[in-house]
Amino acid sequence: MNCWHCENPVEELFCGFCHSLQAPPSDFFAIFGIPKALGLDVNDLQARFYKLSRVLHPDHYSRKSDTERECSNQATAKLNDAWRTLRDPVARAEYVLSLEGLEVAEQKSKDVPPELLEEVFEMNMALEELRMGDASARPALVDAKKKFIGLREQIDLGLANLFTRYDLTQDRAILSEIRNTLNRRNYIRNLVQEVEKELV
């Protein structure tokens, strides 16, 4: 890559020769200047976010050339998108999976994870009763919600573990395991949301 302004070769966000801001890299980790990893220190990320905001934000480019203003706009958007994605472990994992060509299923598939079959069936019955106006189904739903939230927390612990293992080994088999776990997590998240909607 060459600087748009002085045409010298450039590798960083700012040209080493003329200091002009460049178009941002497309990779979320790259804009933060950190290596790609599933596990990361969110406090450190936040400190980087504020520091980079101070130098990239369009507020500091309102009197610069059109090209530099546009670079600032694009770079700050990229930084904000990256911060929003990387600070959240689930969004971060989904992002890394997409980089590796492993997309997470969008909406829940109709297939219930087998180990949840019984609980989901019972919960759906209770939901149906509540919708029909039977308030006595409420306690069962509150219980079900608690159970699923507990399950989600368990999954999150497992995920943290998988993150560490992948970062150490870079083993693609772990990535597929993470993808399956995320799909299961999404399924449970949707269940919790469904119950919450009815309990309000």
């Binding site: 002085c6 010298n8 080493g16 020769f17 003329c18 200091h19 504020y50 905001s53 101070r54 934000h57 369009p58 507020d59 500091h60 309102s62 009197r63 706009n73 694009q74 700050t76 958007a77 990229k78 904000n80 998108d81 911060w83 929003r84």
Partner: protein, 617 residues
């Protein structure tokens, strides 16, 4: 190649950027006086310019206090609260148009057109007249031309409302460097000498809009965590409630419906607003209207008033609760609550806020001025004079595209820090398809029809290919002003694809351009006119002083040639004065000044300085 950057620009004086609060009821302009933001008063000494524009029968545009006077006698030609119409469609405002005295033309256009006398105006054009007045006030007070500004908008303004505000700036001959959210601006004004770190809530209830924002402050960064609001809720609604009651009373007392009588309604509006304002300090007031020899009187206690408006005040609480939730904080974690907007003077409003946030709200700064002051601070940040502060704002509404079946696919979620972007790939559905239409909406609902239609983007000139083969990558970017920009790229060729924008509510670029050409000429004329007037006044003062000086002994002491030179310069100045070019007049003044140095010196020496005292010689 040197690694040192030499900025040649610093030698020149940077043009000043002003901060503008374009309010529903009043508008203000402020600037940064070294480190203190100050509001610039108008020629009448009033800091608030009422957001009222009147098109007189003589074909003149009148703005502010003079227009307010015309509200009574010329109500059908006078516009107020135009902010409520910005970026809106006629269906959105049909109900409240009934309360406005001016008429709206019936057309199928995407923009509302107001009919004043024989001419029609769009809301951005009306706002542009207000902006032009503020620009003029600033230019007169600061003695320099103003071409760049920051304008504040309600945080909950959608894309169309923001675009309309930006259009108004362009029509007024102002480059809008940034649209800043009003509550965020207010926090900048408050945060100047305040705490370095903490969480604050800004409750902003103005004339026509309500915003709530929650911010995290740390070391000069003002990071908005979440925002919520209602762009159709404010003091106007309180006024309308009282007017409605009075109209009903009058109907039964006088046996007459005066609601269609513009003059009577405006008189009543004025009486009601006066009563409302007094009720902030008194426990009971009387609303009084005298019209056509008849008098209507009604006492209203504060208790009754509060019962009448309780539901309006309560409507602000839902957005507050959602905002706290979205910000991911608890009420206890909010360190301070700041009150902004004239309507926060109502005691019931303060009470409601205090109850919800369990903290006494801050009202130290004048709630009418704090937004404009914050805008001036933001202007100062943009000009590079205040590098330690930075605002990180969010988009108030989710952005999505309409999918098959009318379902919305959300691309950028609400409360995302801006600028924010998302890329989405599109393809064709039919063999040889040359264009793809994307419908972009804003809002939180699942179906496109329940969201706000923002615009239709037409991706054009796609290479003819079998269905599904084309790959167009579209980038949606919400900029720091909260306005959407869309660019498209053909993945195969890597080339930018042209995108034609059809805004659902608002002016096309061409329409704005036409309005600029129509009106900016006039504005620039105005500026030159004023410069010319001022230059002539200065020339007259100098010529008068010279006439006096020529009677003095010092004059006689000059060489013959020196006297001739001065006389020549005087004659040239007199000639220049009759031309329309102020630059020429200023040049001639300069020349006369230069050749009278010795004369002035002589006069000083002979202690007859009185004649020239106070002039520039």
């Amino acid at each position: 190649m040197s690694t040192f950057q030499i900025d040649f620009g610093t030698a020149e004086k940077k043009p000043r950027i002003v901060g503008i609060d374009l309010g529903t009821t009043n508008s203000l302009v402020a600037y940064m006086d070294l480190t203190t933001p100050r509001v610039i008063p108008g020629p009448d000494g009033d800091k608030l310019v009422p957001s009222i524009v009147s098109y007189t029968e003589a074909g003149e545009m009148v703005v502010g206090n003079p227009a307010r006077k015309l509200l009574i006698n010329s109500s059908e030609r006078t516009v107020y609260s135009v902010k409520r119409l910005m970026g809106r469609g006629i269906e959105d405002v049909r109900d409240e148009l009934k309360l406005f005295p001016f008429r709206v033309t019936d057309n199928s256009d995407s923009v509302i057109r107001l009919l004043l006398g024989e001419k029609t105006f769009t809301p951005p054009e009306i706002s542009a007249y207000i902006l032009r007045q503020l620009k003029k006030n600033a230019e007169e007070a600061l003695g320099e031309e103003i071409t760049q500004c920051v304008i504040t908008v309600p945080a909950y303004f959608n894309d169309a409302q923001r675009q309309a505000t930006k259009d108004a700036g362009r029509i007024a001959g102002l480059e809008v460097l940034r649209l800043v959210n009003e509550p965020t601006a207010a926090s900048l004004a408050y945060g100047l000498d305040k705490r370095q770190n903490g969480v604050i809530a800004v409750y902003d209830l103005g004339g026509g809009t309500f915003d709530i924002s929650i911010l995290k402050l740390h070391d000069g960064i003002f990071e908005v965590l979440a925002t919520n609001g209602d762009t159709h809720l404010g003091g106007d609604d309180i006024d309308n409630r009282l007017i409605q009651i009075a109209l009903e009373d009058i109907q039964s007392e006088w046996g007459e419906d005066i609601s269609t009588n513009g003059e009577a309604v405006q008189l009543l509006r004025r009486a009601v607003i006066e009563a409302k304002e007094k009720l902030s300090f008194e426990l009971a007031v009387t609303i009084e209207l005298t019209y056509n020899g008849k008098t209507y009187q009604r006492e209203i206690s504060r208790e009754l008033f509060e019962n009448l408006i309780r539901d309006i005040v309560d409507r602000t609480l839902g957005p507050c609760r959602s905002c706290i939730l979205d910000a991911g904080v608890t009420v206890e974690q909010i360190d301070e609550v700041v009150m902004v907007g004239g309507s926060t003077r109502v005691p019931l409003v303060r009470q409601a806020v205090e109850t919800l946030f369990r903290a006494k709200p801050h009202c130290e700064l004048n709630p009418d001025e704090v937004v404009a002051l914050g805008a001036a601070v933001q202007a100062s940040i943009l000009s590079g004079d205040m590098q330690d502060k930075l605002l990180l704002d969010v988009t108030p509404l989710s952005l999505g595209i309409e999918m098959m079946g009318g379902v919305v696919s959300k691309l950028i979620h609400r409360n995302s820090t801006i600028p924010a972007s998302e890329t989405e790939a599109f393809t064709t559905a039919v063999d040889g398809q040359r264009s793809v239409l994307i419908h972009v909406v804003q809002g939180e609902r699942e179906l496109a029809k329940d969201c706000r239609s923002l615009a239709r983007f037409d991706l054009k000139d796609i290479e003819p290919m079998p269905a599904g083969m084309a790959r167009i990558q579209v980038k949606f970017l919400i900029d720091a002003n909260g306005i959407l920009n869309v660019t498209a790229r053909d993945v195969r060729t890597g080339k930018e694809t042209s995108v034609e924008v059809k805004p659902s509510y608002g002016l096309t670029d061409d329409q704005v351009e036409a309005m600029i050409i129509e009106s900016i000429d006039n504005a620039e004329e105005d500026f030159k006119e004023r410069q010319l007037r001022e230059a002539r006044v200065e020339a007259d003062a100098i010529l008068a002083a010279m006439d006096k000086a020529k009677q003095s002994d010092a004059w006689k002491e000059l060489e013959e040639q020196e006297r001739a030179e001065i006389q020549l310069a005087m004659n040239q100045l007199i000639l220049a004065k009759h031309h329309q070019d102020y630059v020429l007049i200023l040049a001639m003044i300069e020349r006369l000044n230069n050749c009278t140095m010795k004369l002035a010196e002589n006069m000083m020496n002979s202690a007859v300085q009185g004649a020239l005292k106070g002039t520039k010689i």
